[in-house]
Symmetry: C2
Subunit: 491 residues, 2 copies
């Protein structure tokens, strides 16, 4: 029986339902099973589907297929009927779990279907009342003092286009807003300076910002993402502060790490200026995610922003993975209490489409500069409206902070129990991780977990990360912690 | 009254309906007005909406808003009630006109809603039976002998990712498929060769391939797209054959143009090899669109492909604007009757999402190389299914060829009538254009046309282009030709 027929509207009273022969209910999405159940991790149907898919595209990254009719809430059901508690949620992209009724219902409102049947070129012919839609939806969750929005499709293109906004701003700051010279216009067609100037974006070792050319040039997590591809050779990378845990026992040392990394940033800015590739923007994740769930302190972020201001460099915060409530605030950088907003903050993933918020001075001065055909995805904006509604209605930010603290406490206890295997438990809201003693150990733990019914994520050289949906509850945390503990114990 | 309530299913008998006080019917979409009607080109509601939007984003490229409740078929209705015959169709992206019932109906099938509520990370966790969906939909229209598909989001990212496929293939060809060296792995993290090798994609003057860094590096249409942004300085551009019209009177001269351009390509390949930036791929549009509706001959394309084969260079055909039936064949490059398929063919726009078809040897050899979080958009795949169904059911390719020939003939007559103003009428299917004597003349003609109710497009330095939907009929062509003629005459 299809889940689509059994799930009920958000506000209906809780009812128990039968699903895969198990009775369950949930505070947030009705119809979850009581827990995971795995028969055969890689079953015959999954194998067949993978073989079929490999006839027309690469399947080298495919782990398993998902049965969208049967997956529900925090539970991922594969076509062989294996049920997993999903703590990775499609690479951190699923805001409200699977088959959330609020999201399923959006296009039952037939007036919304026209946004699917008629996708317009937003920057030339926006739909009627487009400003009102943007204000009601995207601007209702704008980061503090960021009053402008540029809608895009995905995280990588949001970063790419935001860099262009930064370059426009930087050139204007440097040349006083004069018009382009004849030489600039001519050389630009040959991809050469001064028309296409040598300008750089500085990023951090371990960063992940996407896989198009500029977003990949600032990505510094793994060789496999970049081997064999031409990238910007002169774009610099600085060390990200990698703290010693527990933080409270390493205060002085971690402060020194901050100072060292900040000095490196200043040094690279000077070096790149001398090299003829001045730094126009610095991009950073509030928590380095793919790079290993590396947390920098609010003090580091504030000092970094000061360095940007001092050097006329745009401060770009990449919230593609950390945004939309995952940290327990709508935007993770709100935890830093920066005195002024960053110039640019990019988003995607749980936001269902990409884009960036920015300050007024980052507006382009001419048309067709920050432009492409679609400029985002209006249909998905209306799905986001449902997500935002549920986040507010169900007080999910508070919920994420509470469940996050609970989960991190449990994880910390397990780390203490196995000090030779695990270390450095850390987290903000649902963005939780711990490190393993080495990569093979991590792989074994994740494999054990999967056999017992948990889909988990890895990050950095040795870490395991959680990226659950915003409706992950303490009862799910208990299942995760129990299976995680067993998986470590069985090493 | 909303159009959504009055339009009927595709197969219902034609009925006349009233809309904006005019009676109409259409072979393809019911509910079209009898013709355009314009009260005030930039009316007060449009102005107000633009002012509202400018409070939160740039509106420097915004022409007008579109009323999606009232736009229908080939007619664009703005919020002031102006009705335009749309021959530009959202920068060539609308396949079946506005509010086509087949597209509106897709998500009335509730089983499809789950693909909107649950967007998975396609390259890790595809939905059940994903291969079957891809085969039934995308592979049913695959270009001849191109058996592999990589789904993406938009045209620019399709080109970006296809270049990476090309680089992987090229490196494998050059190094015999050996594994990465320690030096390559180390230097790759610094964006430096040999890990990130100096490799180039060759493109053509006038080309448009997108606005992310690599796609913009091969775009060579206008300075405003690129001024102020760092791009790949050593990626070469060759001359695109710009023929003299009428073709039948300039056969010898145009053959010489072909030969000259091909020699230039060979020369650039040699020069770039010497410079240490060997050409790994050549990208070309079957018809240069943004660059001026420049058509190259089938002979040129065949010779270009030969040069690629001779030099172990991938031949990349960019069908973002020309594909999905616009040329009267599903893919415009089918007109060239190439002896073997190109290595890569990219698409987007009328296809509703991006991607590229490719040959088997372009498959990556390792996982997570051609990868990103979403890898396309399953929800839009099902909308494309409806589009493909209508194209086949209604024989729209034949229709496009017939109406295209009719329109081009009419346009040619007008060009002959005004030889001092217009020249070089040209086209394939619905991809039709003519050149004006200069840019100010073009602007005046397009302004006149808009006042009389036609939305048209410009391209290249002096051309006017048509990019109508696939359901543009002779009766629409008559309206276009009549208004175009008047607009030229009133110069």
């Amino acid at each position: 029986m299809s889940v689509l027929k059994t799930i009920n509207a958000v506000k209906q009273p809780r009812v128990k339902l039968e699903f895969l022969g198990v009775k369950w209910y949930s505070k947030f999405v009705q119809g979850e099973p009581a827990g995971p159940s795995v028969k055969e991790v890689y079953g015959p149907i999954n194998k067949r589907m993978k073989k079929e898919l490999s006839e027309i595209q690469t399947t080298l990254s495919v782990d398993r297929f998902i049965d969208l009719d049967r997956s529900i809430g925090n539970y991922f059901v594969d076509p062989d009927g294996n049920t997993f508690l999903d703590t990775y949620m499609q690479i951190a992209t699923v805001p409200l779990g699977y088959n959330h009724p609020a999201m399923l219902n959006v296009f039952k409102d037939q007036s919304k279907l026209k946004y699917i049947a008629n996708r317009t070129a937003l920057a030339m012919y926006p739909p009627s009342n487009w400003a009102q839609h943007l204000k009601r939806i995207l601007m209702s969750i704008a980061p503090p003092d960021m009053g402008y929005i540029c809608t895009q499709m995905c995280g990588a293109c949001s970063n790419e286009q935001s860099f262009k906004s930064v370059f426009i701003w930087y050139n204007r700051k440097r040349n006083g807003g004069r018009d382009f010279t004849k030489q600039e216009i001519e050389t630009s067609m040959h991809n050469k300076p001064p028309g296409c100037p040598n300008l750089a974006i500085l990023s951090f070792w371990g960063a992940f910002h996407g896989r198009t050319t500029s977003s990949l040039s600032v990505t510094r997590s793994k060789p496999i993402h970049r081997l064999g591809f031409p990238l910007f050779e002169h774009w610099p990378a600085a060390s990200f502060p990698l703290y010693k845990y527990p933080l409270e026992e390493n205060v002085r040392e971690n402060k020194q790490i901050d100072a060292k990394c900040l000095a490196e940033v200043e040094d690279l800015i000077q070096k790149n200026e001398k090299k003829g590739w001045p730094v126009a923007g610095i991009i950073i994740e509030p928590i380095q995610s793919e790079g290993g769930d590396n947390h920098a302190s609010p003090e580091f972020m504030k000092e970094l922003q000061k360095i940007c201001k001092k050097n006329t460099i745009a401060f770009i915060v990449d919230e593609v993975q950390t945004g939309c409530g995952a940290s327990g605030k709508m935007w993770c950088h709100e935890w830093f209490e920066l005195p002024t907003p960053p110039e640019v903050m990019t988003y995607s993933k749980k936001m269902l489409a990409g884009g960036y918020y920015h300050t007024q001075e980052m507006l382009p001065d001419k048309g067709f500069r920050i432009f492409n055909t679609w400029m985002g995805d209006p249909a998905r904006l209306f799905v986001l409206e449902a997500v935002i509604h549920v986040i507010k209605e169900q007080k999910l930010l508070e919920h994420v902070r509470k469940v996050g603290d609970y989960t991190l406490k449990g994880l910390t206890d397990i780390v203490k129990e196995f000090p030779n295997v695990l270390h450095s438990p850390r987290g903000r809201g649902s963005l939780i991780a711990a490190s393993c003693k080495d990569d093979p150990t991590r792989t074994k733990i994740l494999t054990n977990m999967k056999k017992k019914g948990i889909i988990g994520g890895s990050c950095g050289p040795t870490s395991i990360r959680l990226r659950p949906s915003l409706i992950f509850e303490e009862k799910h945390a208990n299942i995760f912690l129990d299976i995680f503990r067993q998986s470590v114990k069985e090493m």
